[in-house]
């Protein structure tokens, strides 16, 4: 039987109270949201926080609202809620593509977007999605709020910009006119982590690609936002030759390792092929009126 090491449990009733607890216990405290990354790690004793601050009662962090030209998603929003949100599907089909293949329904009933991003596991699908979307993270601490780009949020495997005494409160996704996006993942079995996955987001302006974002999951750290591919895409007209080249650059820019899910070589091949597929679908979606992707097979 796997049992976590002993810890103290505090259930926060407000964001301010959670922050106060995180400040008080400092390095020894961890937030618990869905617990579906943290509790398995604690059971294996890979993590042994002395205090858990439960944020599940903070309903103010569970929201999806359109404000101006961004969709604001509270950190406590569950995978399930994202998958069922019509608003999310309308503007960000990439999120629905990913959510359909993130874990399984009972896990999606608990896991949150905040926990996914803060876990900062390079295999986490939503990290690649938010990287591709050039999302922003709202981090709150004693000194108030600060907003950081995804590129700055993920600082390495299991490392984020969230400091001691701070928490992630919201994720902001930019709504752009003419946008299209898609996510492609290869997994060994239903509900598994990716062998490799690719997310692409872009807009089409007068027939040319702009605002390109490409994020890969499970092919090593640093692939959540592939500058080399983005630079190649921006300003170019969509074509099979371009997709081919983009796939090649994506393949070259990542650093997969051989493990139980596949060899480094296979994952590198997938990185290229999945980038091409996601790109093709993102471009096709960008050409359509908003919301029409819902009828795709």
């Amino acid at each position: 039987m796997q049992v976590p090491a002993s810890f103290d449990y505090q259930r926060a009733e407000s964001v301010d109270e959670a922050l106060e607890l995180l400040r008080r216990y400092g390095e020894e405290a961890r937030v618990v949201a869905g617990g579906h990354s943290l509790l398995p790690m604690m059971k294996l004793r890979l993590a042994a926080p002395e205090v858990l601050v439960d944020i599940n009662d903070l309903h103010e962090l569970d929201h999806i609202v359109l404000v101006g030209d961004e969709l604001r998603v509270g950190a406590l929003t569950r995978h399930r809620t994202l998958l069922e949100s019509e608003l999310v599907g309308r503007y960000f089909p990439i999120v629905h593509d990913a959510e359909k293949v993130i874990a399984d329904p009972p896990v999606r009933n608990r896991g949150t977007i905040g926990g996914s991003l803060c876990q900062a596991d390079p295999s986490e699908d939503l990290s690649a999605v938010c990287g591709a979307l050039h999302a922003h993270a709202v981090i709150r601490g004693a000194g108030g709020e600060r907003i950081v780009s995804m590129a700055d949020f993920h600082q390495g495997p299991y490392e984020t910009a969230v400091g001691v005494g701070e928490m992630l409160t919201e994720v902001r996704l930019p709504v752009l006119p003419g946008a299209g996006s898609a996510y492609e993942k290869v997994e060994r079995k239903a509900g598994d982590w990716a062998v490799a996955a690719a997310g692409v987001a872009l807009t089409l302006r007068e027939g040319r690609i702009a605002d390109a974002g490409v994020g890969l999951a499970a092919v090593g750290a640093g692939a959540l936002n592939l500058h080399a591919v983005q630079t190649l895409l921006n300003g170019s007209e969509p074509s099979e030759a371009l997709y081919e080249e983009a796939g090649r650059v994506a393949s070259d820019s990542c650093s997969p390792v051989t493990d139980g899910r596949g060899s480094a070589e296979y994952k590198r091949h997938l990185a290229g092929e999945l980038t091409r597929r996601a790109l093709r679908r993102a471009v096709a979606r960008a050409g359509r009126p908003i919301g029409s992707t819902a009828r795709e097979a």
């Binding site: 002993s6 810890f7 449990y9 509790l39 604690m42 874990a103 009972p106």
Partner: protein, 166 residues
């Protein structure tokens, strides 16, 4: 710490360590051993119970996190001698062999039908996709849930005759 969890409609108050898992709370403290416990790594889904009506893996929920919430276990499916249509479906369609995955499968079936009384085969397969069955090949589990969907109006007297195979 002292917690109160509503399980199958009744409040249960116990003194627990924060690290105590919900599956152990149900099985050891409340002696509700219908909830099974397998991989202990949130992969197999045999420990599924309903939390506020939705399936969760109870090996990956702390008992303290369940405090103040409503938990439903397999023991609550039947109403006295009256089986839930999902339970009856598992009998009619031979939805179990060893029975290890069955409590979780039946609860997931119940939660699905509560939300979507007439699910497609694909929706049923998706709903149970986080739970492993090493015996049945899933086909009969899907058929059992379909049987329950067809026979949901049991209370209204439109029960399909036992044993009918469609």
């Amino acid at each position: 710490m002292r917690i109160t969890v509503n399980v199958n409609g009744d409040d249960h108050t116990r003194e627990v360590e924060p690290r105590h898992l919900l599956v152990r709370f149900l099985r050891d403290d409340l002696e509700l051993t219908g909830t099974h416990w397998g991989c202990d790594t949130s992969n197999c889904g045999t420990c599924v119970v309903l939390m506020d009506g939705e399936p969760v893996k109870s090996c990956t929920v702390l008992a303290v996190m369940a405090a103040g919430h409503e938990i439903r276990t397999v023991e609550d499916l039947a109403d006295g001698d009256q089986l839930d249509p999902v339970q009856q479906g598992f009998i009619e369609q031979h939805g179990l062999q060893c029975g290890f995955c069955t409590p979780g499968m039946m609860l997931t079936g119940r939660a699905l039908l509560d939300r979507n009384p007439d699910p497609s085969e694909q929706e049923i397969r998706e709903a149970i996709s986080g739970q492993l069955c090493r015996c049945t090949g899933y086909l009969n589990i899907v058929k059992s849930i379909q049987w329950a969907a067809r026979n949901r109006a049991e209370a209204d007297g439109v029960t399909e005759t036992a044993g009918s195979q469609t």
